[in-house]
């Protein structure tokens, strides 16, 4: 299968004189796959995601996104840990935000936003203000906003990290369903190894001595049942402990 995200020997840092945070990152992510990035706090997981999103430039190396050009969509969309809704926009308008600036007539824009809200089971919530939503609902709106631009690649930066356990589990199941239904490529940052094993079909472990790099690449069968799940969790945990130097 073709790679949709291609990173070659990428080095990432903040400031010209500061040492790089990540170095030698070479990675090919296949279309439709669900890849989790795990690693200790501060290792550069979110930074790597921002480089793929185009929000931060790589210091060296190449970052290629192979997504077909279409004027009415954005190839990459980001879901943040804190939902990051604009409090002055109602839910519907928050979801439409990414569509503004694209050549889409207003009624079609509204329909795409409504359809994305249906996908995250929030139909009927378009007229509410963000403050009227629970934490889980706000995060769903963040996901709907990303889905509305019909991206090939969904970048998710610890999207369920701030939620309670039950809401987190519900949203994990919804994300699995959305991934199966839409076939989008998902790059998912998490510090929760069980979450990574539950959702992803590939798990990348960032770590090692500074600058960090990809130290392990685990193939994975998503799911949270049985012996295989626990064995995989232990394997990733072991890999994390072996490379914990941050």
């Amino acid at each position: 299968m073709a790679a949709v995200i291609d990173l070659k020997d990428v080095s990432i840092g903040y400031g010209a004189d500061a040492p790089p945070v990540l170095a030698g990152v070479t990675l090919a992510i296949e279309r439709g796959s669900f890849v989790a990035i795990v690693g200790p706090s501060g290792v550069g997981k979110s930074t790597l995601l921002r480089v793929v999103a185009g929000l931060h430039s790589a210091r060296s190396g190449y970052v290629d996104i192979h997504a077909p050009e279409r004027p009415d969509r954005r190839p990459v969309a980001l879901v943040f840990q804190d939902a990051r809704l604009m409090p002055w926009r109602r839910v519907q308008k928050n979801v439409e935000f990414g569509l503004e600036g694209l050549p889409i007539p207003k009624p079609a824009r509204a329909e795409r936003a409504a359809s994305a809200l249906r996908l995250v089971h929030l139909d009927g919530y378009g007229g509410r203000w963000p403050y009227e939503l629970s934490g889980g609902q706000r995060q769903r709106v963040g996901i709907a906003r990303a889905l509305a631009v019909e991206p090939d690649i969904l970048l998710m930066d610890e999207p369920f990290g701030a939620l309670d356990a039950i809401t987190r589990r519900n949203l994990q199941e919804e994300l699995r369903r959305i991934h199966q239904d839409t076939g989008k490529t998902v790059l998912f940052v998490t510090h929760d190894i069980e979450e990574a094993v539950h959702l992803a079909d590939r798990i990348l472990l960032l770590g090692g001595t500074s600058p960090a790099r990809i130290v392990r690449d685990f193939p994975n069968t998503p799911g949270s049942e049985g012996h295989a799940f626990h064995e995989q969790v232990n394997q990733v945990r072991g890999g994390l402990a072996d490379n914990y130097s941050i």
Partner: protein, 250 residues
């Protein structure tokens, strides 16, 4: 406390205040020329309205006020927001601001008269100056204080250009602070109206000055009350509008 009880208590407070004032004026403890009784104000109001004086003075003041308020607020918001957005511009004008800010608007009266004459433009200029600084600093703080993550959100969803960044993210996010500045300017603007008109520009300030020269203190009080009522009405309307604009706040 219930809202009804709060209104009743406020009304009681005003009644006690007016009662004490009336009693003091009638007791002869203070000469009537120095402090008119509240009951002397309504007849003065009727007389002024009958002569058409009250309407003319209020309309004239409102005209200075609104022109100064609009110009000063718009410029203050634009300059304050620009300084908060662009560090180079901020640095360039920082010391100019420090030098000009402490000069009270009324200190500009000689220049206002030299530049514009004893005219409506001079009054509007002084009001605009007062309102400008209030809005400048309110907008500066509001724009500097916005959540920078929202800027990143704009960039992530293709809204990182200057126009969408300013109009879709920065101004809406800074709106509560900007509106606070507008509201403060609304009150301060009235103070400058009176100060500017004391120098002979037609309006309530000029009428107060004339009346005080004739020891017609009931007319002075009438126009003081007029300003209070005009401010109260404008502030009430502003709060209603603000409530709608900021309906998104909890």
């Amino acid at each position: 406390m219930t809202p009804q009880r709060a209104v009743l208590l406020s009304a009681l407070g005003v009644a006690v205040f007016l009662g004490l004032w009336e009693a003091m004026a009638r007791s002869g403890f203070v000469p009537a020329g120095l402090l008119p009784s509240p009951s002397a104000v309504p007849p003065a109001f009727l007389a002024e309205v009958k002569r058409g004086m009250w309407q003319a003075m209020v309309l004239s003041s409102l005209s200075h006020y609104l022109k100064g308020l609009v110009i000063g607020s718009l410029l203050g918001i634009a300059f304050g927001a620009a300084a908060a957005l662009w560090p180079v511009w901020d640095a360039l004008q920082a010391w100019v601001v420090r030098m000009l800010r402490p000069i009270p608007s009324i200190a500009w009266i000689p220049f206002a008269i030299i530049w514009f004459g004893v005219s409506e433009q001079a009054a509007s200029f002084l009001i605009a100056l007062t309102v400008f600084w209030i809005n400048y600093f309110a907008s500066y703080a509001a724009v500097q204080g916005i959540d920078k993550d929202l800027i990143e959100l704009g960039e992530a969803f293709g809204q990182g250009g200057l126009i969408p960044r300013v109009f879709k993210i920065i101004l809406p996010a800074a709106m509560p602070g900007i509106l606070s500045g507008l509201r403060a300017g609304l009150g301060q603007g009235w103070m400058t109206v009176v100060a500017a008109e004391l120098f002979g520009i037609t309006g309530v300030g000029m009428r107060m000055q004339d009346a005080s020269g004739m020891l017609a203190t009931n007319i002075v009080v009438l126009y003081m009350v007029t300003i209070a009522v005009l401010y109260g009405v404008s502030d009430f309307i502003f709060m209603r509008v603000q409530g709608r604009v900021l309906a998104w706040r909890r």
